[in-house]
């Protein structure tokens, strides 16, 4: 579903990501793990169409990712951002936020679709006309997830979707993400530094260090703490 081949990403002259080749199958949940500065968020930005200074080949399904603004990308993948306090427009109600993608693409039956989407992410109807500042962090992240699903994309990009939330709320949001994936056969591409989150939600992971893939592993290897690379072992020891 997602194929990266020899992807190099530059900021100015410095290459932040070097010759990364990754492949995620349809319906899989994949995690890109690394410390801050490893280039994992940069890869996510390229997949989201926010950066154009990259080389190599990226395919999403049958679609070859273009450099720069790519209109086909909209229906293929959407993103859930890290900070639910910054990812919702502060002056728009939940209803307006969820209706906007439908309005942009001229999709009808908005009332019904908005209600369905809110039900799907477990938001009660009374929240529909609230503004973001009247919602809790977990509720906001549910709105953000609902927004990403409004256009029914097969791929969801997750940028540390729970790191800004309280521990108790984290579990709720992770359960929701897992349930949505099972219901809809979504493909997840997640960026995180949180290994317990990976072992809960993902099937496979790749470890990124200084812009290079150090190791690719299955989640079973993570659970058995059986990473082959020394850096992978180091990450494991940090997370306990």
């Amino acid at each position: 579903m997602i194929d990266l081949k020899d992807v190099t990403i530059r900021y100015g002259d410095a290459a932040v990501v070097n010759n990364v080749t990754l492949s995620v199958e349809y319906g899989q949940s994949f995690a890109l793990v690394g410390e801050s500065g490893s280039g994992k968020s940069t890869i996510l930005k390229v997949l989201a169409g926010q950066l154009s200074n990259w080389s190599g080949r990226i395919r999403l399904g049958e679609h070859e990712l273009a450099h720069g603004r790519d209109k086909a990308l909209v229906r293929l993948c959407q993103m859930v951002f890290q900070d639910p306090y910054g990812s919702l427009h502060p002056r728009k109600s939940v209803d307006a936020i969820l209706s906007e993608p439908l309005a942009i693409h001229g999709i009808g039956q908005r009332d019904q679709r908005v209600q369905d989407a809110m039900a799907a992410v477990g938001l009660a109807r009374k929240f529909r006309f609230r503004l973001p500042h009247q919602l809790s962090g977990g509720q906001r992240q549910r709105v953000a997830i609902a927004r990403a699903l409004m256009l029914d994309p097969p791929v969801l990009l997750l940028d540390e979707p729970t790191s800004a939330l309280d521990v108790s709320v984290q579990a709720e949001v992770l359960n929701l993400l897992k349930a949505l994936q099972e219901d809809r056969g979504l493909t997840y591409f997640m960026v995180t530094h949180d290994l317990p989150v990976v072992s809960f939600l993902c099937d496979r992971l790749a470890i990124l260090r200084q812009g290079r893939v150090v190791e690719e592993a299955t989640v079973d290897q993570l659970k058995q703490q059986a990473f082959r690379s020394p850096y992978g072992q180091e990450l494991l020891s940090h997370s306990h």
């Binding site: 909209v74 951002f81 910054g86 002056r91 006309f129």
Partner: protein, 298 residues
């Protein structure tokens, strides 16, 4: 009580209940501020006086009565009469229409223009920003009254030209504010999110950027209205705004200047009118700033 609960509900059921609730909270905060309330009362008074001028004014603002020249304030003429025997209060009442006309027209022209240019500069950045802000700086560097004078001199005296001249000199401030505001959130995640949904640049600017710049622009326009009134009066005083016999306040001061020592009321009364209305807009603008600041919202 039911209605208040319905308005203050934190779980509104429809779009317009949510909107009304927000408006109710805003107006309650405004009414809690006595100075803003004074400003609001003055502005509402101006609106009423302007709307019902022909019915309120006891005399004609234009017909002269040379037998009643320069009468001091009395029961018959509350604010006295001017050098052509016209009742000054009637002229001030009719003049409120001209003032309101100028202020509203300037606001309607310059605020959207400044907002559009500022948000475009902030949103696109790069060379668009440099070109638009260069233009803004050029307009901003010229003194408002001098620039307005130059325009009126080129276009010819008259209210319409005064309005155009003031509007042309008023928009750069709004552009600067809107740009600065846009820069604070142009890289926010909700902007990335709306871009990822495939919204066009025009849609993002109009529906997502402008609403966030709107409250500071409204506040600034309200505060500027005092300045607009003064500039219009200044143009009128110099004989470049409204032409006689129109009862424009600045022009009235100008014609009263000749008698200021012996017949003080001729120049003073329209001066009072300008001060009171300017003050009204200032106070209301200040109150509006406190209310619309999103940091104060709960």
């Amino acid at each position: 009580m039911m209605t208040v609960n319905w308005l203050m509900s934190d779980a509104p059921e429809t779009r317009w209940q949510a909107g009304l609730g927000q408006a109710y909270r805003t107006s309650r905060a405004l009414f809690a501020n006595p100075l803003a309330l004074v400003g609001l009362v003055i502005i509402l008074g101006l609106l009423l006086v302007a709307a019902f001028a022909p019915w309120i004014a006891p005399y004609s603002p234009i017909e002269s009565d040379l037998s009643a020249r320069l009468l001091p304030p009395s029961a018959a003429h509350w604010m006295g009469t001017d050098e052509l025997g016209r009742d000054i209060m009637s002229r001030i009442i009719h003049g409120s229409r001209i003032t309101l006309y100028i202020v509203l027209l300037v606001a309607v022209i310059s605020a959207p223009l400044g907002l559009l240019i500022g948000t475009m500069a902030g949103y696109f950045g790069g060379w668009v920003d440099r070109v638009l802000m260069g233009l803004t700086d050029i307009f901003l560097s010229m003194p408002r009254l001098i620039m307005a004078l130059a325009f009126v001199a080129a276009l010819g005296p008259g209210i319409e030209n005064a309005v155009i001249a003031i509007a042309i000199t008023a928009w750069p401030v709004y552009a600067r504010i809107a740009r600065a505001e846009t820069l604070t959130f142009r890289n926010a995640e909700f902007m990335s999110a709306i871009r990822m949904q495939g919204a066009s640049h025009a849609r993002i600017i109009v529906r997502h950027v402008m609403p966030l710049c709107l409250s500071s622009t409204i506040v600034r326009v309200t505060l500027d209205m005092a300045g607009i009134i003064l500039t219009a009066a200044g143009l009128g005083f110099l004989g470049l705004g409204a032409q006689p016999p129109m009862p424009e306040w600045g022009a009235m001061i100008s014609s009263g200047r000749a008698f200021i020592l012996d017949q003080w009321w001729v120049a003073t009364m329209p001066g009072f009118a300008i001060v009171v209305v300017s003050l009204g807009f200032c106070l209301f603008g200040d109150g509006l700033r406190d209310v619309l600041d999103p940091r104060n919202r709960t």
